[in-house]
Subunit: 294 residues, 2 copies
Amino acid sequence: MPSFGGIEAGGTKFVCAVGTGPDDLRAEVRFPTTTPEETIGRAIEFFRQQTEPLKAIGIASFGPLDPNPASPTFGYITTTPKPGWSHTDLAGAIRRALGVPVAFDTDVNAAALGEHRWGAAQGLDTFIYLTIGTGIGGGGMANGRLIHGLMHPEMGHVRIPHDRGLDPFPGSCPYHGDCLEGLAAGPALEARWGQPGEELPADHPAWLLEAHYLALGLVNFICVLSPQRIIMGGGVMQRRHLFPLVRRKVQELLNEYLPVPTIMEQIDDYIVPPGLGDRSGVLGAIALAQQAAR
Amino acid sequence: MPSFGGIEAGGTKFVCAVGTGPDDLRAEVRFPTTTPEETIGRAIEFFRQQTEPLKAIGIASFGPLDPNPASPTFGYITTTPKPGWSHTDLAGAIRRALGVPVAFDTDVNAAALGEHRWGAAQGLDTFIYLTIGTGIGGGGMANGRLIHGLMHPEMGHVRIPHDRGLDPFPGSCPYHGDCLEGLAAGPALEARWGQPGEELPADHPAWLLEAHYLALGLVNFICVLSPQRIIMGGGVMQRRHLFPLVRRKVQELLNEYLPVPTIMEQIDDYIVPPGLGDRSGVLGAIALAQQAAR
């Protein structure tokens, strides 16, 4: 059976795996994201140690990045605020070292592909996968294919209402201040409340505000793309009590404007956690590799 | 040569036309939108007067509406705030009266199709068509097909930052108050400044605020869908001096986060007026009819 490699290249850690799907992951390694040279080197080393040859490798990367195979900077991470990683030819380095076809997309587009193939988006043609963690990212499919358009979605950077009387925190996005990511990603939670989200009790007022911001983002995504489902993953969403809060706020904000039963009555199946748990990204990378090999 | 009918069903007026494209419009009529019975009756009368038989009719309608042919309420306008028009079976009434296939979509999705076929979106696969007029609506294509997903986009209802110190106007959307439509559609302009947009001089401060709100909407659309182009039509955009203001604000708000030449250097070709002028909607309706006949 042919084997595929997947790299989930995150801003905090890299996950590399080999296999063909969720029931056949033959090897996996996780290590922190440090310099490009060291981090990419460890990924290459992991794949070189595998005994079976790989047909292709998929990379699910943090961004912004260039996912257009026709572009001279295809495979590059472009303007990331992450120190040292701007203009890094991630896909090229992997391809040159390992000599196999390399597919390259955003972490969230890859996770969307993984969820479509094996998880919570099976059978859908238009949906969104979000991660709420160190940053906020969103990808997805429209009309049955991953969304690229001009580049790729950057859903975390939508602008939303921010009542500075209620919440004086100025936002933590280095580009946009109080965009969705600046107000609601993990670092914003921690900076605003003085302790990380993992440590805030479930009845802390932090969570109502967090659900409010996330719901504002979701309402915007719904108005623009009309997704059939929204999958919310990432570290912050590990706090499962957030889901019912976000669902209720989305309904309140839409105010019965969109009269579809999916939103009005079945919202528990509309805004959901990933079907693949915390493996959407790396499995999505393997799904990208399988696409590239076809 | 076969002939097709198109209906642009707007909240203010209906436009009906017969032909095959922008260079072959054989008849056209415009009349105000009054009650459903009277208005639909006039459209039927217009098509009955045509001597050539029609192969199909396309309807580009205000919404929200049900564009899903598999749904029992396909062809209905659903929860519109427009008095008398909620739950109106617009496509069914036309089909029953005229006995031809009827295609049905939002005014803005149809306009997007028209612009794709004959106008400013030729050759693109992912783009947005907006109308800024009595309301704000947005439709478009993703991966080469019109966006439907769960229902259809409702881009005018995204939530954006609203500084009530700077602009105390509470917003005019009956569902959401100060969503994009509530802050920036024609009626909001008129209510805020005491005179309609057509009468406000080009150097009036109204326009900088208007461009600011529209740019916030556009930035959100760019972050979610990554369109290759954004086409802005509708009555408010007849004031052409708005285009350079909106383009500059979009660049300011993105703050060099998306490093693509299309946005950084070629924004005059990125945010553009419709190629079909004020006929995108009715020509799009004809394009819908042609799709339905194939």
